[in-house]
């Protein structure tokens, strides 16, 4: 069927891109392997649709398509959460830079009645 050919071509393409990115040191071997497992699973399920039905009945889900949808939603939740965490890490780096910049001016603007500090100690 045409849809099977298109899907398999798509999976082969992203599989090739995955390993190209590994070759370019953009992703780690572990990441490339995990993504490859996903793409190859896609090829297997496209070629043998009965596999999803068997897997679905193993997990107690009615149809194979439903199982794929549930998994897709779960994977998307995971990836979105990971993006939030990466964003939080970037935010903290920005804060560290802002703090460092702010503290660099501390001695310039000291009030007339205050003592000049002698040392700087940071816990961050």
């Amino acid at each position: 069927m045409l849809i099977q050919i298109l899907l398999i071509l798509g999976f082969v393409l992203v599989f090739a891109i995955t390993w190209r990115r590994f070759g370019q040191n953009v992703i780690t071997f572990r990441e490339a392997s995990l993504w490859s497992f996903l793409w190859l699973s896609g090829v297997a399920f496209t070629l043998y649709p009965g596999l999803t039905e068997r897997l679905a009945s193993f997990f107690g889900v009615g149809r194979g398509v439903d199982l794929i949808l549930y998994l897709a939603v779960a994977i998307q939740f995971f990836l979105i959460f990971k993006l939030f965490i990466l964003n939080e890490q970037s935010e903290r780096k920005i804060t560290n830079l802002v703090e460092r910049e702010a503290l660099s001016h501390l001695n310039e603007d000291e009030p007339a009645s205050a003592n000049r500090p002698s040392n700087y100690e940071s816990n961050g």
Binding site: F81, F84, I85, E88, Q89, E91, R92, K93, I94, T95, V98, E99, E101, A102, L103, H105, L106, D109, E110, P111, A112, S113, A114, N115, P117, S118, N119, Y120, E121, S122, N123, G124
Partner: protein, 228 residues
Amino acid sequence: MKIIGIIPAYNEEKRIRATAEACLPFVDELIVIDDGSADNTFMAAKSIPRVYAIRHTINRGQGAALRTGTHAALHLTADIIVHIDADGQHDPSQIPDLTHVIKSNQADVVFGSRFLGQEPKGMPLSRRALLLAGRWFNTFAQGIPKTISDPQSGFRALNRKAAVQINFKQDRMAHASEILKLVTRSKLRWMEVPVTVTYTADSLNKGQKNTDALKIAWQLLLGIFTKS
């Protein structure tokens, strides 16, 4: 003992002088952190004697401002550091209630609590219910002892040892819960003392909203998984 007060301020040009001047009789020096304000908070703070004004070039949140202030206070050789809000909710005359406990070596960290006998003035019922829920959340999700009566206290004092040791990371509102968690899980001695907090229409309008409770829970969840 050198006491330095820290006031994080965001768009507080009109109130910062009054708040700072109310605090100054009870501290040796004061640090105002202008957290990327759009108004002239920085210049207003800078013009006050005995006040160090520090500016974040962009807004990073109350927790980030407190962290910058704490590091600055350590740099300025503070023995005791007091965190206080800029919006006038806290009563500066109660600063000695907190610092006395540290001076007399009864604790390393002192938290001001709104629920130890001194009735908060003007606190909406919904806020009270939310803080009670926050107390349970802190206990189950964060492992903070239920004996902590105020889950979001922003009025606190730390000695130098505690300020160096407590390395809080939360930039925004969740820092209060994070500090409670870090302190109560450390070997630092801590104590709560009663403080009076006054809520005005202005402070309620600018301060935390009830819906912020969900944001705090979300920030704490992200914090668990964030390496930095």
